[in-house]
């Protein structure tokens, strides 16, 4: 009897211990990321100076493309190590406003770049749009909702997931529906019909994609760059006149301790080689503005 009781207590203790250690590991992981990136900033940056660390804050959707760009950039510039802080643009802008050490900021929209400019750490004329992203309808490869055209999204009983209007892609999705409803090729009630089919407004674009790739939904709306390398889904193009263009600006921070190297990185992103690489990851060309 008491032995059994004791074993319960022992197990609860062990469980608490495990939970605590898991929590510690989790905290350590997140706390470490921003601090290590900004460390060695003491020296001024002549190009060939050994061991220059360039810190790039970039929108999460750029993760794959920028990781490859950095590999190419670092091998072109011996002694330079590019490190990233990938997160939602709003988080990155907040971190910049709070003084996080960074050399380059690449945002997924103008709003967050403007917020960083307002903090005074980025000059107003610094941001350049280096890529664009477009909306695309994503459907499971076996197409359970039998969606052949954009008009089919309005078919009764189609199961659709959209991103919540609170996140940019959700806002863009609604704007696409508005544009389509005004287009003679679509019914006037297209927007309402599609919204009546929506089963869920997901928290971000990745979970829209996941719901579709798991086959839980018949269709969703994501960015073209999200579809690169994803298996089990296919895309249904949205024509230019109905589509929304998300612009990604990039800029150097004016207090960067490696401003030359930071400028070289931005130049590399804007170069033909950089553009070609970004195009491979599903991004459209930037406006250069």
């Amino acid at each position: 009897m008491y032995a059994r009781l004791l074993s319960h207590k022992k197990w609860s203790l062990l469980l608490i211990f495990l939970l605590l250690s898991a929590a510690l590991v989790a905290c350590g992981g997140t706390a470490e990321a921003p601090t290590t990136t900004g460390a060695p900033m003491a020296t001024e940056p002549p190009e060939a100076e050994p061991e220059t660390t360039l810190t790039v804050f970039a929108a999460a959707s750029l993760t794959d493309a920028f990781t490859e760009i950095a590999a190419a950039f670092d091998s072109d510039n011996p002694g330079v190590t590019t490190v990233f802080n990938f997160a939602g643009s709003n988080q990155l802008a907040t971190q910049i406003n709070e003084g996080a050490p960074a050399d380059v900021f690449a945002s997924a929209n103008h709003t967050q770049m403007d917020a960083a400019v307002e903090s005074g750490r980025i000059d107003a004329d610094a941001p350049t749009v280096f890529v664009t992203n477009r909306l695309i309808v994503v459907i499971p490869a076996d197409n359970p909702g039998d969606i052949q055209t954009l008009q089919d999204l309005a078919n009764p009983g189609t199961l659709i997931v959209l991103a919540a209007a609170e996140v940019p892609v959700g806002k863009y999705s609604l704007e696409f529906l508005d544009k389509a409803s005004a287009d003679p090729a679509f019914s006037e009630t297209f927007r309402e019909d599609v919204l009546a089919n929506v089963a869920s407004y997901e928290e971000n674009v990745r979970s829209v994609l996941n719901k579709v790739s798991l086959g839980e939904a018949d269709a969703g709306i994501v960015y073209t760059s999200d579809l690169v390398g994803v298996e089990g889904v296919s895309g249904l193009e949205i024509p230019d006149e109905l589509n929304l263009v998300a612009e990604y600006p990039i800029a150097i921070l004016n207090d960067s301790a490696n401003s030359e190297m930071a400028a070289a990185f931005v130049e590399f992103v804007l170069s033909d080689g950089g553009r070609a690489l970004l195009a491979e990851y599903g991004f459209g060309p930037g406006t250069g503005q």
Binding site: L159, A164, A199, Y201, E202, G215, E216
Partner: protein, 278 residues
């Protein structure tokens, strides 16, 4: 509610030994008490009572509150019905693999809720093991209120089993044996002897499971999605509210905290009142 606060302190406790120094313990407890209390206080003071009331009348806020209360109640009920036999088994029986089962029960507590949501999709989703089969007959669970209840039950049931199993283990098996000798059947023994004697632990389990279900976020948003009035519970509305309207998020948070606090207090007040402290 004030009586509940006071009765939850053991009222008739014997005079403490002379060397006992409660002041020292109070001083040592203070950091933690402040650590928990200050953020909650900040939350409650963030918006004025007038704003709170105004936000309460928003349809999305009301829908979220109603949905949360409904689903967490069902999830608690499901946890009690499905969890009680398992808890009793763990407390009373030795069988091969008992340790494994015991461990398995704790997994939902340890599992990141997002992973729990994904696992549920893989079983109850449209292409899942069970969900695929239901889909054949035209039933869909994902994106429905049922999905919310399933997600909450999955996360909350462990807490109920853990608490009630300890309660069952504390009931002397001799009492059950005596009842059996007097001719009581299994159900009578359980409902007249074991459950009433373990009621303290059972109620704790109910309260914990309910509070956990009410606060469930990760598994719900993955498995049930987010649709106002259908699957958008209070935690989901709070999370999405942060992106758009902090005031609404704070209103819902205040209500969530207040509800949980009062219900836990009532449960503890009721059973501590008629059960002598051990």
């Amino acid at each position: 509610m004030r009586w509940a606060v006071w009765t939850s302190k053991p009222g008739k406790r014997p005079t403490p030994p002379r060397r006992h120094r409660p002041e020292a313990w109070w001083a040592l407890s203070l950091p933690l008490l402040l650590f928990i209390f200050l953020p909650l206080l900040a939350l409650f003071l963030y918006s004025s009572p007038a704003d709170l009331v105004a936000n309460l009348s928003l349809p999305q806020v009301r829908q979220a509150i109603g949905l949360s209360l409904r689903t967490s109640t069902w999830a608690t009920l499901a946890s009690v019905l499905l969890g009680t036999p398992v808890a009793y088994l763990l407390a009373r029986r030795q069988f091969p693999g008992r340790l494994l089962l015991d461990n398995l029960i704790d997994l939902p507590i340890v599992l990141p809720p997002a992973v729990a949501g994904l696992s549920l999709l893989l079983v109850f989703g449209r292409r899942g093991w069970i969900g695929g089969w239901l889909n054949e007959v035209g039933l869909r669970i994902t994106f429905t209120e049922v999905a919310v209840i399933i997600a909450q039950t999955f996360i909350a049931v462990s807490l109920f089993i853990r608490a009630s199993s300890i309660g069952f283990a504390e009931v002397e098996p001799e009492l059950e044996d005596a009842a059996a000798i007097d001719g009581a059947n299994q159900w009578q023994i359980f409902s007249r002897i074991t459950a009433p004697l373990a009621r303290r632990a059972l109620l704790t389990g109910v309260a914990l499971a309910w509070a956990r279900a009410l606060g469930e976020f990760g598994a719900t948003i993955i498995f049930a999605g987010n649709f106002p009035g259908r699957t958008q519970t209070m935690p989901l509305a709070i999370y999405l509210g942060f992106e758009l309207d902090l005031d609404v998020a704070v209103t819902l948070s205040v209500i969530l905290v207040a509800f949980s606090f009062v219900v836990l207090l009532m449960v503890k007040g009721i059973f501590l009142r008629d059960t002598p402290a051990e």
